[in-house]
C-alpha cells in the first residue's frame, strides 16, 4: 500500500481497494442507466405504436408545439452536458475551483431548461392544449391529437422529473466539492453524477425530434 497521506477515502468493508470500489460504483451507475433506458424505451414504444396508428394527428400535434423554445432547450441541455463533461475531467485533474464553477454552470443550465419548459407548458395551457375537458382543437381528429399531447406532456414531464432529480444531486456534489470532498484520486461521485446527467440529456435528444420536428414541413 502506498504511503501517501494526501486524502482519505472511506472504503466499504466489502472492497479491497479504492479502485475496486470506484469501478463497482461506476458499473452500478451504468446498470442503473440501462434500467432507465428500458423505462423510457417502453414509453417510446407506446408512442411509436400510437403514432403509427394516427400519423396525421401526430403531425398536426407536433406542429402545435413551440419549435423555437424546444430547439433552444435542446441547445441548453447539450451545453449543460458539455459543462458536466468538463467538470468531470476537472475533477480528474483535481482542480477544485474549475470543478465547482463548472458544476454550478451545469446546474444553472439545467434550471434554465426547466424554466423554458415551464414557460412552454404555460403557453400550451393558454392554447388549451392540455388534454381533458378544456382541450380545444379545431383541426381534424381532436381525439387522436389529444393522444399526442398526452404523450407530449407525459414524456417531457417524466424527463423534467429526472432533470430535477439530477439538479438536486449535482447541487449536493457541488457542495461536497466545495468542501474539498474530492481529489484527483477520489472523485467517483462526480463521475457517476455526470453519467446520470448525460443520460437525461440523451433522452431529450430523442424526445426533441419526435415531439417537435414531426410534420414541420407543410
Amino acid at each position: 500500500m502506498s504511503k501517501s497521506t494526501e486524502k482519505v477515502v472511506v472504503l466499504g468493508e466489502q472492497f479491497d481497494t479504492p479502485e475496486q470500489q470506484d469501478a463497482a460504483s461506476q458499473m452500478g451507475m451504468w446498470v442503473f442507466l440501462s434500467t432507465e433506458i428500458m423505462l423510457f424505451g417502453g414509453l417510446f414504444l407506446a408512442f411509436t405504436a400510437t403514432r403509427l396508428a394516427f400519423p396525421l394527428a401526430f403531425q398536426l400535434g407536433s406542429r402545435h408545439t413551440e419549435f423555437v423554445l424546444g430547439t433552444a432547450n435542446t441547445a441548453v441541455l447539450l451545453l449543460s452536458s458539455l459543462t458536466m463533461a468538463l467538470a468531470v475531467s476537472a475533477s480528474h485533474r483535481g482542480a477544485r475551483k474549475p470543478l465547482v464553477l463548472l458544476l454550478l454552470l451545469t446546474m444553472a443550465l439545467g434550471a434554465l431548461f426547466l424554466g423554458i419548459k415551464g414557460y412552454e407548458y404555460y403557453g400550451d395551457w393558454q392554447k388549451h392544449l392540455i388534454p381533458g375537458e378544456n382541450f380545444v382543437w379545431n383541426e381534424p381528429q381532436p381525439q387522436h391529437a389529444q393522444l399526442f399531447f398526452l404523450f407530449y406532456f407525459f414524456m417531457t414531464g417524466l424527463h423534467a422529473v429526472h432533470l430535477t432529480v439530477g439538479i438536486g444531486v449535482v447541487a449536493f456534489v457541488t457542495f461536497v466539492a466545495w468542501r474539498r470532498g474530492y481529489n484527483a484520486t477520489y472523485n467517483t461521485p462526480v463521475e457517476v453524477t455526470g453519467l446520470y446527467w448525460h443520460l437525461v440529456d440523451l433522452v431529450w435528444i430523442f424526445l426533441y425530434p419526435l415531439l417537435y420536428l414531426n410534420g414541420r414541413h407543410p
Binding site: 396508428a53 394516427f54 400519423p55 396525421l56 394527428a57 381534424p140 381528429q141 381525439q143 387522436h144
Partner: protein
C-alpha cells in the same frame, strides 16, 4: 442392487395396473381424453396434439427412467463400476442439442401450416357477425335473425364468424371445434370452421372479462341443412345485415356525403369492396372488412387520395353491431367477385328463397318457442343475472 431393481419393477407393475384399471373405468363411464371432434379442423389439431404427446411422452419417460435406473444402480454403497466417470462428451451433447432442434423445427412447420388453414377461410363461407358484451354473446345471421348466447348453424358449410366486442376483450371458444379467438373492442377479428357433426356443443368465453366471465357462453346448435332452413324461416323475420346497414347508412346521413348527388365531396362507396384505393400518403390499400371498419371508426387514419379528411368518426355513436352492419352493407354494395359476395349470405339463391319464406311467415306469425331467438339484450337475460354495460361514451373513468 437387487432390491433396487425390484423396486423399479414393482413401481412399473403398479403404474401399469393402475393405468389398466383407469382404462376400464373410463370405458365404463364413457370418460373422454379429448373433446368430441365436431369440426373439419378438429382431427388435424388432435393429430398434432397426439404427435406432441407421444414425443414428449418418450422424452419425459426416457429421462425419468434413466434417473431411476442411475439412482438405484449407482446409489451410495452399491457396488458398481465407477471408474473414470465422464464429464464431457461432445458427440453425445451435439446429438442431444441437434435432435431437439430438428424435432422443434418439424413441429413448428407442421403447426404453422395448420394454423394458417385455421384462419384463411375458404370461398363461400357464411359470414355471421358476433358481438361480445359483458356477459353474453350476440350473434347476427346474414339473413337477419339474431341470437343470444346461442348459435344455430348448418352442418357441412364453412362458417365465418366476424367477431367484435362492445366493451372489454372476450374470447369466442368452442372446444368441440378447436377454435378460439379474442373479440376485441374497436377491431374486427375472424375465425372460420366447418361443423361435421349435428348436435349441441359448448360455447364459452375464454378470455377473463369481469365478474360473470364464467356465465358468459351458451350452446352452438349444429343442424342438418334442412332443419337449419326450417329454423331460419321460422325465426322472427329481421332485416338482413345489409338491409340493416343500409338503413343506418341513411339514418346516420352517410348518404348525405357519400350519396351520388351530395353537397360534400366524398368518395362514392359503390363497388369499392375488393378494389384498391389510393391514399393521401401515396400508398395503396385494398378495401377489406378491416379497412371499411377503420374508415368508419377512425376516418383520419387512412384518408383517400384527393379528399379532405372531414368525415366524422362514428366510433362512439354506433354500437359494434351497427358498425358491423354498415360494413356488411358496404360489402354488399358489390364491386367484389362472386365468391366474395357469397361471403355475406351463403349463396344468393337460398337467401332469396329464405327471404320469401320469411315474408310468408310474416303473415302467419306462428311462433316456435324453442327456436325463437331472443331480440334485445334486455329480454335476453336468461335469469336476469346479466346486467348490461353502458356504451363506451357514457362510460366514466373510475377513480
Amino acid at each position: 442392487m437387487k432390491s433396487g431393481w425390484k423396486a423399479v419393477v414393482s413401481l412399473g407393475t403398479a403404474s401399469l395396473a393402475l393405468f389398466a384399471a383407469a382404462q376400464v373405468r373410463a370405458q365404463e363411464s364413457g370418460f373422454r381424453w379429448q373433446p368430441e371432434q365436431a369440426s373439419k379442423i378438429a382431427p388435424r389439431v388432435d393429430l398434432l396434439f397426439d404427435f406432441l404427446l407421444v414425443v414428449s411422452g418418450l422424452i419425459a419417460g426416457g429421462i425419468c427412467l434413466l434417473i431411476v435406473i442411475f439412482v438405484f444402480k449407482y446409489r451410495r454403497g452399491n457396488p458398481a463400476d465407477r471408474s473414470n466417470p465422464p464429464t464431457k462428451n461432445w458427440k453425445l451433447e451435439s446429438a442431444w442439442i441437434a435432435i431437439p432442434i430438428l424435432l422443434s423445427l418439424f413441429t413448428f412447420v407442421w403447426s404453422a401450416r395448420l394454423f394458417y388453414d385455421e384462419y384463411a377461410e375458404p370461398a363461400g363461407s357464411i359470414n355471421i357477425n358476433v358481438v361480445g358484451q359483458q356477459w353474453f354473446w350476440e350473434m347476427q345471421h346474414p339473413e337477419g335473425p339474431r341470437e343470444m348466447d346461442e348459435l344455430h348453424i348448418p352442418v357441412g358449410k364453412p362458417i365465418k364468424l366476424t367477431l367484435s366486442s362492445q366493451d372489454v376483450i372476450h374470447d369466442f371458444y368452442v372446444p368441440a371445434f378447436r377454435v378460439k379467438q379474442d373479440a376485441l373492442p374497436g377491431r374486427l377479428t375472424t375465425i372460420w370452421f366447418t361443423a361435421t357433426q349435428p348436435g349441441r356443443y359448448h360455447l364459452f368465453c375464454a378470455q377473463y372479462c369481469g365478474t360473470q366471465h364464467s356465465n358468459m357462453g351458451g350452446w352452438v346448435y349444429v343442424m342438418e341443412p334442412g332443419d337449419f332452413e326450417h329454423w331460419l324461416t321460422h325465426t322472427k323475420p329481421q332485416p338482413s345485415l345489409a338491409e340493416a346497414g343500409e338503413k343506418l347508412f341513411v339514418q346516420f346521413s352517410c348518404a348525405g356525403c357519400h350519396g351520388s348527388h351530395a353537397a360534400v365531396r366524398a368518395p362514392s362507396l359503390d363497388g369499392i369492396y375488393g378494389k384498391t384505393v389510393p391514399l393521401a400518403d401515396g400508398s395503396m390499400v385494398r378495401v377489406d372488412d378491416r379497412y371499411l371498419y377503420d374508415s368508419i371508426v377512425l376516418p383520419g387514419a387512412q384518408v383517400v387520395a384527393g379528399y379532405q379528411n372531414i368525415m366524422p368518426t362514428y366510433k362512439n355513436s354506433l354500437t359494434q353491431a351497427q358498425l358491423m352492419e354498415l360494413v356488411a352493407y358496404l360489402r354488399s354494395l358489390g364491386g367484389q367477385t362472386a365468391h366474395e359476395k357469397s361471403l355475406d349470405t351463403g349463396d344468393a339463391t337460398t337467401r332469396q328463397s329464405i327471404r320469401e319464406q320469411q315474408q310468408r311467415a310474416l303473415e302467419t306469425q306462428q311462433e316456435d318457442q324453442e327456436m325463437q331467438p331472443r331480440q334485445t339484450p334486455s329480454d335476453a337475460m336468461p335469469s336476469g343475472d346479466k346486467n348490461l354495460r353502458p356504451l363506451p361514451q357514457e362510460r366514466k373513468s373510475l377513480p
